[in-house]
């Protein structure tokens, strides 16, 4: 029987001592065995293993992105609970409640800002976390299940953001949700039905606000907590994080481990405290946007979806809606979900970008996409006019499938070039295409956010006549 067991077994002598003993650990453990036991015995800490590989503690391997994403989820739940106490989900009251929150409630504005910025940052960190896992091969066997859970959670994060976007009931919210939900209409056969179901009517209105509020505060967070539990549990079931390796190390290194307390827990605490400080400072300085009350008769010019959907909206300017809103996102999501089943080489797991050549190829893909994507947007805006050239064909073909075929052929050509010219292996080719497409998505989103002005025409960001950016 160890020293720890004895302490627990002996009741404290005083009344307060016994309460103290029942509420928590009596003193910090002094040896590794005690530290490991403390991890096992604690509800929160037992999400961690008792010992972790020293190498996974490396700051520049995980960037703490999973942890930061979880921290943001906790902040969002806490601030959300308080915001709920000052909010009525009806068109006549919602906007007034937000105004009252800003001017009439102690720390109301701070809570709202904190919720808003944490939610926006959550989209970014969840996305970066996905990239980190992909670049280090963390999606491959045996972690395929957890990759799928992760992609589903990314979708939930977007759903949480999107439903929350409507709640302030200002012009920004109203039209972003109108434009965003109208994209659903283009899903063949069931699109109109789904859209009406989600909106609770033909347009964004009182039923929509109630539907979105209900999804935002109950269904989405509850599902999220369940998936998060599953995600954390699977990390441990799959043997913890992938262990980082240098590209030149041919053999997987011998794994050294250290106790979770204090090595991992201390890092997590410092990281969390630093981020809470950053978020608080940011929320004190930068107010969350709020425009005039929603006016269903007055569409702003330009009307943009929430920023994380602007890449999608940019596609809508170039392709027939069925291609832009259904086929391309559907293919992309399918490819992302099935990634662990065709990108299966496990010998490079833990090496950032697979290999030294993989790093070069990633840079090449980044550079190529940074050049080609804006060039293609400009070409399509000013020169290409598929529907006029192929006027006798239905717009789905002339303005949808034909340009899509051109893009796909371009990707195939690039892939061939990399395969033959640079002798890339299969995993390096997948890496190349992945980096290319992700860069293209980021560029399209940036164009949508910063370079689209009235009438969705192209402008320099500093020339856009309207007063706000759509963030």
């Amino acid at each position: 029987m160890s020293e720890q067991d004895q302490i627990v077994d002996t009741p404290a002598q005083t009344f307060l001592g016994r309460i103290w003993q029942a509420l928590g650990p009596t003193g910090l453990p002094s040896d590794d065995r005690g530290r490991m036991r403390m991890v096992v015995d604690n509800l929160v800490l037992h999400l961690h293993p008792t010992k972790v590989p020293t190498r996974t503690l490396s700051w520049t391997y995980t960037w703490g992105l999973g942890g930061l994403t979880s921290l943001l989820a906790v902040i969002l739940v806490l601030t959300g609970i308080f915001l709920q106490m000052n909010y009525t989900p009806s068109p006549s009251q919602a906007y007034l409640d937000i105004l009252s929150l800003r001017t009439n409630t102690w720390f109301g504005d701070l809570l709202r800002n904190l919720h808003h910025w944490s939610a926006n940052l959550l989209v970014v960190t969840a996305f970066l976390h996905l990239l980190r896992v992909f670049f280090t091969g963390g999606h491959r066997a045996p972690r395929a299940t957890n990759w799928i859970v992760g992609v589903l959670m990314l979708l939930l994060v977007l759903a949480a953001n999107f439903t929350g976007y409507l709640l302030p009931w200002d012009q920004l919210a109203y039209w972003a949700i109108t434009v965003g939900t109208s994209i659903i209409n283009y899903v063949p056969i069931v699109g109109g039905f789904l859209n009406r179901l989600l909106l609770g009517g033909p347009e964004v209105g009182a039923p929509t606000l109630l539907n979105f509020y209900s999804l935002h505060i109950s269904f989405i967070p509850v599902t999220m907590v369940m998936l998060m539990s599953l995600h954390f549990w699977r990390v441990r079931k799959d043997g913890g994080l992938t262990v980082p390796r240098r590209a030149k190390e041919s053999e997987p290194p011998k794994i050294e481990r250290v106790t979770t307390i204090p090595h991992l827990v201390r890092r997590e605490l410092v990281f969390a405290v630093a981020w809470i400080a950053i978020l608080l400072a940011w929320s004190m300085l930068v107010p969350a946007p709020l425009e005039g009350i929603a006016n269903p008769d007055l569409s702003p010019n330009p009307a943009k979806a929430p920023w994380y959907f602007l890449g999608l909206q940019e596609l809508l300017l170039h392709f027939h809606p069925l291609v832009a809103a259904v086929i391309i996102p559907g293919l992309a999501l399918g490819a992302l979900l099935l990634l662990p089943f065709y990108d299966i080489q496990i010998s490079s797991v833990g090496v950032y970008f697979r290999s030294l050549r993989g790093r070069f190829l990633s840079l090449l893909a980044l550079g190529t996409a940074l050049l080609i994507t804006p060039a293609w947007v400009l070409l399509d805006e000013y020169l290409l006019d598929w529907s006029a050239w192929l006027a006798s064909w239905p717009s789905l073909i002339s303005n949808g499938l034909v340009p899509l075929a051109v893009v796909v052929l371009g990707l195939v050509a690039l892939d061939e070039l990399v395969k033959r010219g640079l002798r890339a292996t299969q995993e390096e080719r997948i890496l190349f295409i992945f980096v290319f497409l992700v860069t293209a998505l980021v560029v399209l989103t940036a164009i949508g956010i910063f370079f689209r002005g009235p009438g969705m025409s192209l402008y320099w960001p500093w020339d856009i006549p309207t007063t706000h950016l759509s963030l």
């Binding site: 434009v179 009406r196 179901l197 009517g201 033909p202 539907n211 569409s299 330009p302 009438g455």
Partner: protein, 171 residues
């Protein structure tokens, strides 16, 4: 007969016997499937749009025919549509929602057309697309004219791929 088994078996067409246990399992699975379908149906029915009388979504009385001159476009804000009277005296109730991404389309009197502020789709007074990206003409609401009074049913919008004369209602 002494050898009669306690387990009843049924011969299937393929000749393979189905035990009572298997048959019951199948029935349970089918019942479970039906329950799942029922609850899906209930949820979908429950979430159907709820529309109130007298508001957008109901049948709205707009006024007398003679209040609207030929070649005019009148916005009916409560009904979220434009009452368009064409040059030949025919009526159309044009839904103000852009068929591209759902923005509200204002009427531009000086240009004589609807111009969507969101993505610059343009429509003629009868709703035809003059400039994409809108994929189809503006939707319509059914009009009934009785004793010179115009009523518009805003509950059902008519989606159309092309605009043609049969859609126009004459007093």
């Amino acid at each position: 007969m002494q050898t009669t088994s306690l387990h009843t078996t049924i011969q299937t067409e393929t000749g393979k016997p189905v035990s009572r246990r298997d048959a019951l399992k199948t029935i349970w699975a089918a019942l479970g499937g039906m329950v799942a379908l029922e609850f899906t149906g209930l949820a979908l029915a429950y979430m159907q749009p709820r529309l109130a009388q007298g508001e957008f979504g109901s049948v709205m009385s707009v006024g007398a025919v003679e209040n609207f001159p030929n070649n005019s476009v009148t916005h009916i804000p409560n009904g979220r549509f434009y009452l368009v009277r064409l040059a030949d005296g025919g009526f159309l109730a044009v839904y103000q929602r852009c068929t591209h991404l759902g923005c509200s389309v204002p009427w531009d009197q000086s240009q004589g057309m609807f111009v969507c502020p969101c993505h610059n789709s343009q429509f003629s007074p009868d709703g035809q697309v003059l400039n994409p990206p809108a994929p189809r003409p503006l939707d319509l609401f059914p009009i009934t004219i009785t004793d010179g009074m115009i009523e518009v049913d805003t509950g059902v919008s008519i989606t159309r791929e092309t605009a043609h004369l049969a859609q126009v209602v004459y007093p």
